[in-house]
Structures are given as structure tokens and as C-alpha cells.
């Protein structure tokens, strides 16, 4: 059932465990701020996994120095570009969710998701 690369891929396994921790955070907490922190943790775990996909042992960062242009001296630059886009999108989504939390608090004066949904049901929406 377990493949043969488990000990070699320990960093990817750690990133999967952190993803699951963030997901559990999302499921089990009632506080809105903790749920937003859980979503952020899930985001960064996925970025860690992507960056690990571009790493090649023994090679260096993809910045051309000293005129060396052979392709077997640098790591793969493509996953790096994808993660850069992802970080900016993650900060935008976090700012949006926090603004919505402030509006919810001003309306219902609580951060508890159970109470907010109870009151929404009571108001008939």
C-alpha cells in the first residue's frame, strides 16, 4: 500500500499533514477568525508542495550569473512562477474574508457561526 519513496519524500508528506491540520481547523472551530487562519494554513501548505516539485538536488537558484546558461545548472523555474501568483491571490482572499467578518460582527455582535446561522434562520432568510 505504501510506495517506496516515503522516506525520501518526507517534506511532501509534512506539507500534506499541514494541509490536513488546516482543514481540521476549518471543520472543528466555531470562531470565524480561526477558520480564516485555517484557510491560510491550507494555502501555504499547497504552495510548499508546489515549490518542492521544482527542486532539483545539487542545483542552484534560477538567476543567471557568470554567464552560465546551461540548463543543467539551475532548478526548474516554472513552479516558482505559479506560487508567486498564488501568494498574491491568497492575500486578496484573506483581506476580503476579514472585511466580511467585520461587517458580520457589526451586524450580529458575535463571531460564533452557530449563533449567526440561528439568527438568520429566525429572521427568515
Amino acid at each position: 500500500m505504501f510506495g517506496e519513496n516515503l522516506l525520501n519524500n518526507y517534506a511532501e508528506a509534512v506539507s500534506m499533514i499541514i494541509f490536513a491540520i488546516g482543514f481540521t481547523n476549518l471543520l472543528l472551530h466555531k470562531n470565524l477568525i480561526k477558520k480564516i487562519i485555517g484557510l491560510n494554513i491550507m494555502d501555504t501548505a499547497v504552495y510548499l508542495f508546489l515549490a518542492l516539485k521544482g527542486y532539483i538536488k545539487g542545483r542552484t537558484a534560477p538567476i543567471i550569473s557568470n554567464g552560465v546558461i546551461e540548463a543543467d545548472k539551475y532548478i526548474n523555474p516554472i513552479p516558482s512562477g505559479l506560487v508567486l501568483t498564488g501568494i498574491v491571490v491568497s492575500v486578496s482572499v484573506t483581506a476580503l474574508m476579514l472585511a466580511l467578518t467585520i461587517r458580520l460582527y457589526k451586524r450580529y455582535h458575535t463571531l460564533d457561526l452557530d449563533e449567526i446561522s440561528f439568527r438568520l434562520r429566525k429572521e427568515g432568510r
Binding site: Y10, A11, V14, I17, I18, I21, G22, T24, N25, L28, H29, N31, I33, K34, I37, G38, N40, I41, T44, Y47, L48, A51, L52, G54, Y55, R59, T60, A61, I63, I75, S80, V83, L84, I87, V88, S90, V91, T94, A95, L98, T101, I102, Y105, L111
Partner: protein, 94 residues
């Protein structure tokens, strides 16, 4: 370098678990900020300096500051820790 990488990954795990187990919201956000900084160093070890600079500036800078300002706006930061429960009980009984 792999021992250093293992230690840092272990710190990441500890921070991620500690965020959910802390009761005070301010403590959670502080631990989340340190999680971002450790993640930035891990990326430096994986030879991607672009990601390290961006995560340090954006994750540990802007996102955490936005969290703090939100906590200020919803009155969740208190001067002394023991003050909150008496306030809530007093106002609930009025």
C-alpha cells in the same frame, strides 16, 4: 542542510498545531505570523529566493497586520486578560 530542513519542518508542524489549540485570538495570530516567517526560510532552503522575499513581505507583513487591525476593530484586544468575563456578565445582566 537536511538536518536544518527537518528541524524547520518540525517547527512548521508545531506552529500549525499550536494555532488551533490556543484560546486567545491574539496569540493565534502571533503564532500564525511566526509560521509565515519559518515558511519563508524553508523556501530559501529550496533555492527559490523570489518566493522567500514575497512570502516574508506579504505573509508575515501584510496578512498579519490585517488580522491585527481586524481584531482591533471588533474589540477583541484587551488591556488585561482577566477583564473580559466580568464585562460580559455585567452587560448581560442589565
Amino acid at each position: 542542510m537536511t538536518i536544518f530542513q527537518c528541524i524547520l519542518l518540525f517547527f512548521l508542524l508545531v506552529c500549525a498545531i499550536a494555532v488551533s489549540f490556543s484560546k486567545n485570538l491574539l496569540n493565534s495570530v502571533l503564532i500564525f505570523m511566526s509560521y509565515s516567517v519559518i515558511m519563508s526560510i524553508v523556501w530559501m532552503l529550496l533555492e527559490s529566493p523570489d518566493l522567500a522575499i514575497t512570502e516574508a513581505a506579504v505573509g508575515a507583513g501584510i496578512t498579519s497586520v490585517l488580522f491585527f487591525v481586524t481584531l482591533n476593530r471588533i474589540h477583541a484586544i484587551f488591556k488585561s486578560a482577566g477583564k473580559k468575563k466580568e464585562d460580559v456578565k455585567e452587560e448581560g445582566n442589565e
